[in-house]
């Protein structure tokens, strides 16, 4: 089959690879009908997540048709012919973490738990197409994908919704939603979202749905800010204004009640010296992540507020504003999304028209053009917000 693979830093390549087979009895094989490029795929391509290898099949946002199931898959849960969306964390459904609905912390799905434990203190769940640290599972930017624990994760789509309407249940919609949910939004809350990429946009929509009085988008790309504005959110361009001052103006001096970091480890900064400081430290590996958005969110948040982190961090950060965080009673909440927890309720919201994740799609390309898709998404060319790939 054809698959988009990691081919070294800053290079992806569509290659011929073997078709997947059942390796565990609870596996299914899915013929991929739609898949997408995620912002976190860029962290892999940019070389900020260790343990990628030449030839790794990429992609953790995908859906399709079940073409084969292992002997251990209960037919009442999944059968050949079912149309499914596959959540990005691989979860066994039986361990203590899964029982507590903390699926991205599944204790059994990562065969490379030993590597993850060395980096993170405790292991994390397996993730499709997302380095060997998270299991070394082939991803979904391919014609076919093997899905372990197929009786736990995949969500059956039995209505007539299009692929585009439901594809993002695999990651970015639940991730954005969880970012808003972690904010514990109260009536009257102003929620500021750093990053108007696809996850940020869906976090904004979710925050409004959960009752925020006002949602503020912070970015510098005009097309991304325009997209947020068209969806009814207030925008702040960090190239044009000082973010903290502008947020104070917009909130009567209080600061946003709740802040969401939808940027993560490769932030860019309006202030050149600070940006240069982090870039140099990251380049010499004395800091692995550039945490401007997180620092700014903590400093901007009102006292007693919540900072919710859904942007990806991989290692260590520098100059963490611990004083602001501690002295001003700020709650920091985070996690890789526990997608399985949100898929069904969010599918209902899509069916009811309460959420329309298709609004972030700007490009639909054949799988063969994945390298081009990565290029325009990474360099924010052609007003690229979200790329859907068709195998």
């Amino acid at each position: 089959m054809r698959a988009n693979t990691w081919a070294g830093r800053n290079r992806v390549e569509v290659r011929d690879v073997p078709d997947p087979t059942i390796l565990n009895s609870r596996d299914a094989i899915v013929r991929v009908t739609s898949t997408a490029i995620c912002g976190s795929d860029l962290h892999l391509v940019d070389g900020y997540v260790p343990t990628m290898q030449d030839g790794d099949v990429m992609g953790h946002e995908f859906m399709g048709e079940v073409v084969e199931v292992g002997s251990g898959v209960d037919p009442s849960r999944l059968r050949v012919g079912d149309r499914v969306v596959v959540p990005f964390p691989i979860a066994c459904g039986a361990c203590a973490a899964c029982t507590a609905e903390l699926y991205s912390c599944c204790e059994n799905s990562n065969p490379n738990a030993g590597i993850a434990e060395k980096m993170f203190g405790h292991p994390v769940a397996g993730i499709f197409g997302y380095s060997h640290l998270t299991g070394g599972f082939a991803g979904g930017q391919a014609q076919y994908a093997r899905v372990p624990f197929a009786d736990v994760g995949p969500l059956k789509i039995e209505s007539e919704l299009s692929d585009e309407q439901v594809l993002f249940l695999s990651d970015i919609l639940p991730t954005g939603y969880m970012g808003a949910e972690m904010c514990d939004i109260q009536p009257g809350d102003v929620v500021a979202v750093w990053g108007a990429g696809p996850v940020g946009q869906l976090a904004m929509d979710s925050a409004r749905l959960l009752g925020a009085a006002e949602v503020i988008a912070i970015d510098r790309e005009p097309y991304r800010l325009r997209m947020a504005e068209e969806a009814g959110h207030t925008v702040v361009d960090f190239e044009e204004v000082d973010v903290r001052s502008r947020l104070l103006e917009l909130t009567g001096g209080r600061g946003p009640d709740k802040c969401i970091d939808a940027v993560g480890l490769e932030a860019t900064h309006g202030s050149t010296p600070i940006g240069a400081y982090d870039r140099i430290k990251q380049a010499v590996r004395s800091e692995t992540d550039r945490p401007h958005a997180l620092r700014q969110a903590i400093l901007s948040c009102r006292s007693g507020g919540v900072v919710s982190v859904i942007g990806v961090y991989g290692g260590l950060i520098d100059k963490f504003p611990a004083g602001a965080w501690m002295n001003r009673s700020i709650t920091l909440r985070t996690g890789q999304c526990h997608v399985q927890r949100y898929m069904e309720p969010l599918l209902r919201l899509i069916e009811q028209g309460e959420l329309d994740p298709t609004r972030v799609i700007t490009h639909t390309l054949p799988l063969e053009q994945a390298p081009y898709g990565f290029e325009i998404f990474k360099n924010k060319r052609e007003d690229c917000e979200k790329v859907v790939l068709k195998p």
Partner: protein
């Protein structure tokens, strides 16, 4: 050399104990064991892979046990690498899971064999036992050892990193895996 490791498994004491006490099960998750054959009520014969494609064998006996609480064993006779072990099962505070505490003691001999054994365990001897217990947890909680494309070999993992790329196995590799499963 003494190795200790522990894990928590979300299964009742009787299941975890019964699985371990059926000693033939140990090679399904313990990396170095090829086979354990039960030879009597308290005696068994163990075969393990050693460095350079050698195998070592020894007889063992259960020295003491209390069902659902602990099992202790040790090698008997003229074992190449005299060893002993003890596994203890204790209820976790959550009321549904069991903690499994394992201690293995190896009496590593002098000479070339001792050196080879020491090298086999490498710089991080604990890692192997930790991984063994992770596989025990996978088997008891999910039914089998979990395989990925990068790490498809289960307990026969060749190397932690680099691995084979995270892309589907070739027909030859699938056949190799099937052969191992049959063995």
């Amino acid at each position: 050399m003494e190795l200790t490791a522990t894990t928590t498994i979300r299964r009742p004491a009787r299941d975890v104990y019964a699985f371990w006490r059926r000693l033939e099960n140990l090679p399904t998750f313990m990396c170095h064991l090829d086979e354990v054959r039960v030879t009597g009520e308290r005696t068994s014969h163990w075969t393990a892979s050693a460095p350079f494609d050698r195998t070592v064998e020894w007889d063992a006996e259960i020295t003491d046990e209390v069902p659902e609480e602990f099992v202790g064993w040790r090698s008997t006779g003229d074992a190449d690498v005299p060893n002993a072990g003890r596994v203890r099962f204790a209820p976790a505070p959550d009321g549904v899971s069991m903690e499994v505490h394992v201690v293995l003691v190896y009496d590593i001999p002098g000479g070339p064999l001792g050196k080879a054994v020491a090298r086999y365990f490498g710089e991080e001897p604990h890692q192997q036992l930790d991984d063994d217990l992770r596989r025990l947890k996978q088997v008891l909680e999910t039914g089998e050892v979990v395989r990925s494309d990068g790490a498809p070999w289960g307990k026969r993992a060749r190397k932690e990193f680099p691995q084979r790329p995270a892309q589907p196995l070739s027909a030859e590799e699938v056949e190799e895996l099937a052969k191992e499963a049959r063995a």
